[in-house]
Symmetry: C2
Subunit: 356 residues, 2 copies
């Protein structure tokens, strides 16, 4: 546990530029994480202590087809960063802000962990008082019940290892609490999860969770297919922003309001800090042989540093190993594929982002 963790970071793609990512790396390095930055070296001078810079100016963060770009641009910074992890030169990777290219590169270069059907994107959402991690938020538009079962274990292991939740309560997002509510996919996953989670040391399956309950603190991890999960997270973002904007508007509409807003400001600022999406570091790519984190492109150095620090925590706490052990104990690992297929990347249909 005392060995230094190395994180490979793609410095391209951030709205504020590579220098902001480098500033995040400096913060992470000060806290004991070794960082290798892949990006335009000229824009990241002077190199912070504890940080290595590899000059990789080519960016595929803004391309139209990130899957194709990740395959055809080996010199791209994100591909180089991910390849460093695949080669064992780093323990985890952090992208500078483009989900598509990071996801594609991660899938191609690092590959799925043994027995995992599909990787998933997990996003920890800082709901006040009750943070909740939603997965999948977009890697797999369509899934099968056994995929949701694995997502549940992956999310639980993540919440335990990275977010420090003791025995995460895991719920299935559905249109009603009863076990019979939901699509056939959800109903079947519910039944399978009830059986698989029995006696699990890393998760407490709490059953179906309705939309109103996602923010109510009844579950630490909420499992959904990538279509529903993506809609859910963006709805939460939209409604929360809209509501805060309305409160702000009220506080600007009159002298009474302005004075009231002034008095409330310190309290509201603390609230805003609590729900700051930069705190949890971004979306986590789970189910690969190594951990990957995709901060939002609009993040500041703080968010990028959190991504690196939490990725390092995930490595130290062995989120990949924990996931594997829990799935194995629950009998939820995928049966080994025939050798020929295994070498071609397994018999499973590719993840959406994989593009095939």
């Amino acid at each position: 546990m005392t060995s230094t963790v190395t994180v490979a970071v793609d410095a391209n793609g951030a709205d504020l530029g590579p220098a902001e990512v480098a500033a995040g790396a400096a913060i992470a390095a000060q806290q004991g994480v070794r960082v290798i930055l892949f990006g335009p070296a000229a824009q990241m001078q002077p190199v912070p202590e504890g940080v290595t810079v590899v000059d990789a100016p080519v960016s595929i963060a803004k391309v139209a087809d990130p899957v194709r770009a990740a395959r055809s641009t080996p010199e791209a910074s994100v591909v180089q960063a991910v390849r460093a992890v695949a080669a064992g030169d780093a323990d985890a990777f952090v992208s500078g802000g483009s989900t598509g290219s990071a996801l594609a590169a991660g899938l191609f270069e690092i590959r799925r962990d043994r027995g995992i059907h599909r990787p998933a994107l997990a996003l920890p959402i800082p709901v006040p008082g009750h943070p909740v991690t939603i997965l999948d938020v977009g890697a797999n538009t369509e899934v099968r019940p056994e995929h949701l079962v694995q997502f549940a274990f992956m999310g639980a292991a993540f919440a335990q290892a990275v977010l420090g939740v003791d025995k995460p309560r895991v719920g299935l997002l559905s249109n009603g609490e009863e076990a019979i509510k939901g699509t056939p996919l959800v109903v079947e996953a519910h039944e399978a999860l009830t059986a698989r989670a029995l006696g699990s040391p890393i998760m407490d399956f709490v059953g179906n969770v309705e939309g109103t309950q996602v923010t109510a603190g009844v579950a630490d991890v909420v499992v959904a297919d990538g279509f529903t999960g993506n809609i859910a997270l963006k709805l939460m973002e939209g409604v929360s922003q809209k509501t805060m904007a309305a409160v702000r508007e009220v506080a600007m509409a009159s002298w009474r309001g302005r004075l009231g807003g002034l008095l409330l400001r310190p309290g509201l600022r603390a609230f805003r800090d609590e729900i700051d999406p930069e705190g949890p570091g971004g979306a986590y790519l789970l189910g690969l042989r190594k951990l990957g984190v995709v901060p939002h492109g609009r993040f500041t150095r703080y968010g990028f540093s959190q991504a690196m620090l939490l990725a390092a925590r995930g490595v130290r706490a062995d989120v990949v190993g924990r996931t594997h052990a829990a799935l194995e104990a629950a009998g939820a690992l995928k049966a080994p594929a025939p050798l020929a297929q295994e070498r071609a990347g397994g018999s499973e249909p590719a993840t959406t982002v994989g593009g095939s």
Copy 2:
């Protein structure tokens, strides 16, 4: 247009009791709507002017299996109210608060309109500045692309006839704006809608709408399957409540906050009024031969009166006829079923609530 509209109302099921529903009926009657109340007559005395009371004390609002109860309890108040509409004694129905029983009774007694695949539940959500109607919010857990196409026209006709939106902008809820984003269901519905909506006089199809855009005012109507729509609406409710509760908490945490909250109160009250779910009257059951409205059980007399008044507006503006005409013009009506099947209720699989 000057003929009086009659609304049949189930007075059972409201959290505040039948008297509150009767008080709502009194408000609607004062504004020119004829109301027939079905419920415990003894609890609705004196009978308001313009209101008729039919003693129907039996309630199936709280039963475990509303579908079975709606079939096997002809004396239930909701069944009687719906039957009055089916018989032509009333033009639309309003339930006292139980979605399940109202939906089941509506489906059994009033039946689908000619050429409609599936009825849907539409909920107008009072987003500040940009109200948005989501459908389906729970009548159909699973749908086919042609169902989503019809939901789009049903929602547009509703927004035009009941909410007074000139030419409603209709979007498909998805995990990305591009036409290729979404499940195969959504992608196929997108393609079909693009073709069907071309030149439609009642709708402007704006394509896919992401979660963040639902509250951004880009669409007046958002179409989804009942599983996703139900999750979406409850998430919006949960996040909005949670955010307002957090603001309230800040305003209670210190003397500064308390004073600030006091100053902001009038403005926040106006905001709360604007987003009051009682304003739009509840969820609308569309696609039947007559209009039905299901207010939330927790509503006060105001919400119930709104349900009756807006149901009457929907009748006057002929929401059913407009939907039919628009679907016919777009070539999106279902082909007539063979006679034997038509008599048995059509060849379509039943709506979720139908239970079979």
